[in-house]
Structures are given as C-alpha cells and as structure tokens.
Amino acid sequence: MNPLAPLYRAIEWMPVLAQDITVLVVLVMPALIVGALVLVGFRPFPLVRAMLWRFRWTNALFVLLIAVSVGLGVGLIAQERGLRQGTARAADPFDLVISAPGSEITMMFAAVYLQPSDVPLLSGEIYDEVANAPDVTLAAPIAFGDSYVSSPVVGSTAQFVTHLSPDLAEGAMFADRLEAVIGSRVDLALGDSFTPAHGVGDAAEHDAHAHVEYVVSGRMQPTGSPWDRAIIVPVEAVWEIHGLANGHAPENADQLGPPFDPDYFPGTPAILVSAEQLYVNYALRAQFTTDRTMAFFPGTVLANLYSLMGDVRQVMSIMAVVTQILVTAGVLAGLVILTRLFARRLALLRALGAPGRFVFSVVWSYAATLIFSGAVLGVAIGYGAAALISRVVSAQTDILVTATLSWPEFHLVGAFVSLTVILALVPAFIALSRPVVTDLRS
C-alpha cells in the first residue's frame, strides 16, 4: 500500500496540481528542514566547492552512480506511462469490437493494432443485428488479411475512415471500389496504384491478386497508431477480390458502404461499434457476448494489461528503489572514506577554532551536493533513456510512444533526496568525531 495514501486522502479536495505540489513539498520537506538546520548561519560553500574540485573525478563518479540509479527509477515510471498513453491513444477510436469468440487479446491485437492473425468470420445476420441495434452510430466491418509491402490492406467503409480521421490530410474518400485511402505514414502518393498481396509478411502470396490494382485517392491524418501504416479500401473490393459476393444484392451491385444485404454478406473478422449513449455500449457488450460472438472493449483489455504492467513496474520500481538506496549507501560509505582524505583540512578548521557545526555543515553540504547533482542528472538520464526506448518502440510498432516527465518521477526523486540527505548526516557525524591533533599531524 502506498505510504502516501493518507496524505492524498487528506488533500483530495485540492486541485490535482496543488495536490502534486503539496506532496512534492511534503517529500522534500525533510531535506529542506535538515538543510536549513545544518546551514543556518553558515556559508560553507566556498570550502565545499574547493573540496569538490579537489576530488573532482571521484566526485563525478559518485554523482554518476547516483544518477544512474535514480535514472533507472525515473525511466521506469516515465516509460510505463509513455507505453500506456501510446497504446491507449492508438486504441481510442475502438470503443467496442465484436468478433467471433476467441481470445480478446488476440482479437484486439488484430483489429486495433493490426497484428495479423487468422480468425473466423462473423456472418451477415450478426452484422445486420449489430448495425440495426438501437443507438448504434457506427458499425464498421474490419476486413484485414491482405497487404501491400509492409502495409496491411484493410477493407471497411467510408464511415470508418472518417471515424479514424475526421478530415483527410489530402485527397478524397474512396468513391470507387478500386480506390484506397492510406495512412499518414504509408509510402505511396496520391494517384499511385498498387497490387495487394494475399496475406501478410513473408507468408504473403504476391501474385494471388495480380489482376487487381488500387489507386490511392486520399490520405488520413496521423493517428499515432499502426493505422498510420494501413491502407483502407472499400470492404466490397476485398470481398470481390477473394471471389465472394460483394455485400449487396445484384440489383444494386455498385453500391459502396452500408447498408449491406445479409444474404450477400460474405463475413467479416471484426466489427467496430460506436454508440453515443454510454449504457448502450455496455448493453451491446452484454447482448453480443454469446456462443457465436464475442464483444469486448479494447479499453478494458488494455486496462487489464496496464494493471499487470503496473504490477510488474511496481516490482521493478521496488528493485530500482533498493538499487538507489544501496548505491547511495555505497556512496555515503565512500564519503566516509573520502572524508578521511579531507581529515587534515577538517582538523585544520577545528584547530583554527571553527565551530563543530560549521565543520559538520561543510561535510554535509559536500555530501548533499553530490546527492542533489546525482538526482538532477538522474532525472535527465531517466528521461533520456525513456525517450530513446520510446523512439525504438514507436519505430517497431508504429504506436506513437512519447516519453514525458511528470509528477510521480519528481515525487520519487524528492523522496530519494530527502532520505539520502538525512543519511548524509552520518558521514558528517563521523567526520566530527575524529581526533583533531592526530589528523593535523598525519
């Protein structure tokens, strides 16, 4: 359980920003109080600077050690949030997905993140039932399975394209069976034509659809999701290419988009459903959870994954915190040894008549400077690492992951600084307990 929970409970009436600031202040307060008590009336900084400079390489190493351990914790939190936000943003247009029964995760990866997999189809009757349910504003078939180079070619409707990208970045919506709207990062230009391959990746059969050529008619806005690499074509075209009925009765065979005729509906792996009434989503989810259909919120699947990811992150955070504390303990032990190097100078100060508290404040400030610099550098390292990993993840998954720094990181660092700065009192006490004359003569 979070030890800060009672504090959050007490301040939950505040605006969130004020809460975060308050928590940060509470966390760094011990450091500030200790600092104020140790430093009040003294100006040890010229001496501290001299000592820092004297052993600059050792000090730099200490700072780096602290920074890396702090960066580990910061990076972990920032990365998890980035992944969560990125995957959630990518799934945002997909409120409710209906498919044949199976694994929700597999289906989510196929329909939302366009990771190919073989799934059974839903029939025209089911599609009809979904599309005609009260309050449904959008029921779009998502017919994946073909590809062009590394882009999945997905059959759907104009409404679906508009759902993903309310305005097109350029060009126009497909108005003809062999026109296509491409995602923002597809390597084609308006007017280009291409032949889709049957299947995806290495298993694709490139000449299966050799007689078909799509022409690019429009391009969508960036969505930060794998759909940026997708090519969307009329679902009728996908059906026809595979030698199936095209969803409409022969008398209006040229129609594009809904309504579809259940008798001529060859099937779709998934249907994206959108409803404006909140409860309708839940009602549809209940209604289409049957032995023939599976209805799920990608949001829920993701949230459960996040919850798992959060648990893993928490375990790793604990390890990161333990690392931080161990590293700092090591650094402070190092400081005790280092203060032996300073022993003569400290003895000199005391021989000259400096108050014990002044000598104490010199040693503490020295340690606190290392800790604070390490913490600040650690934030930079953590952010840098998260930014780097985010870029790699974005490039590999097409899910836009951006690293940001937010309050939890600063809370972590604040608590770290407070704790270790209090630990830094120990080397200061040890330094003070050394015999003056012995150190002077050494």
């Binding site: 509470v26 500030l32 409860y279 949001g299 949230a303």
Partner: protein
C-alpha cells in the same frame, strides 16, 4: 544556495498544513448509487441537497471503455458479462458517470469500491467521448471499500 528560497518553501508548507487538516476532518456523506434517483427517475432530496458538494458513493467499477482515461462508470451491482441479468430498462439509473481526478487504475468489476467526488446534476454531453450523462461525480477519487 539561496536560503531565503528555502525558508519561503518551508513556510509555505507550514501555512498549508492547517488547510490539510481542515480538509481531512470533513467526511463526505456516503450513499449507495440507488439513493440518487426516485422510482420515477427524478432526483432524490439527497441528490438535490448535495449537488455541488463532495459525496461518497458505494458501487462497483464497470469494465472501462477507454484505457488510460479519467473516466469510468460506477454501477450499483457488479457488471458481469451476463446476458440474463441485465435488463435494459435498468441501465440508465443503475450507472453513474465518474470523472476521476487522475487516470484510473482499474479495479475488477466485482470488487466493491467507494468513490468520492463532487456530485453534478443535469444533462451533459462529454465533448471528447461523446457520452451523455444526467448525473456525474467529478474530481473523483476511488478506492476499494
């Protein structure tokens, strides 16, 4: 180091402390979700009286529609995926839209939770999600009961 800055921050926190204590002392009135509506779907006196103030409501977190969002639905009874036990007529007055202060960590739909937030009455259409709600809790915080 700037010692005045030090003290300004420290003083600020000390000044904030009494407010923290005052805030903690005020315990929100706690009701069950059903106690917001009358049978005819009008608001109860409790709902009308406490509109605009912080209240605590007991219920269950429905499986979220959106991942990584501040929004969730509080239900009166655990929302199992069970086609027989949810009669559509009961939907609207059995659920409450909740806008949390922070991104919500999901709590399983069958775990009883307490949600504390400011009660808001009146029809409202969410500009981002497009959902329509008659009652909401805003600035909410939730925890396992």
């Amino acid at each position: 180091m700037n010692r005045r800055g030090f003290f300004a921050t420290a003083t600020g926190a000390v000044l904030a402390a009494p407010f923290i204590v005052t805030g903690a002392a005020a315990a929100e009135p706690q009701v069950r979700l059903r106690e917001l509506y009358e049978r005819d779907m009008s608001f109860t006196p409790f709902a009308l009286e406490n509109a605009g103030t912080r209240v605590a409501i007991e219920g269950f977190m429905a499986p979220p529609l959106k991942a990584d969002s501040n929004f969730y639905v509080l239900t009166n009874i655990p929302m199992a995926v069970c086609p027989f036990c949810s009669s559509e007529a009961e939907w609207p007055n059995d659920i409450l839209a909740v806008y949390a202060q922070r991104v919500v960590n999901v709590i399983p739909f069958n775990v009883k939770i307490i949600t504390r937030g400011t009660l808001e009455l009146g029809t409202y259409t969410d500009p981002e999600l497009g959902f329509v709600s008659r009652v909401r809790l805003i600035d909410a915080v939730q925890e396992r009961a």
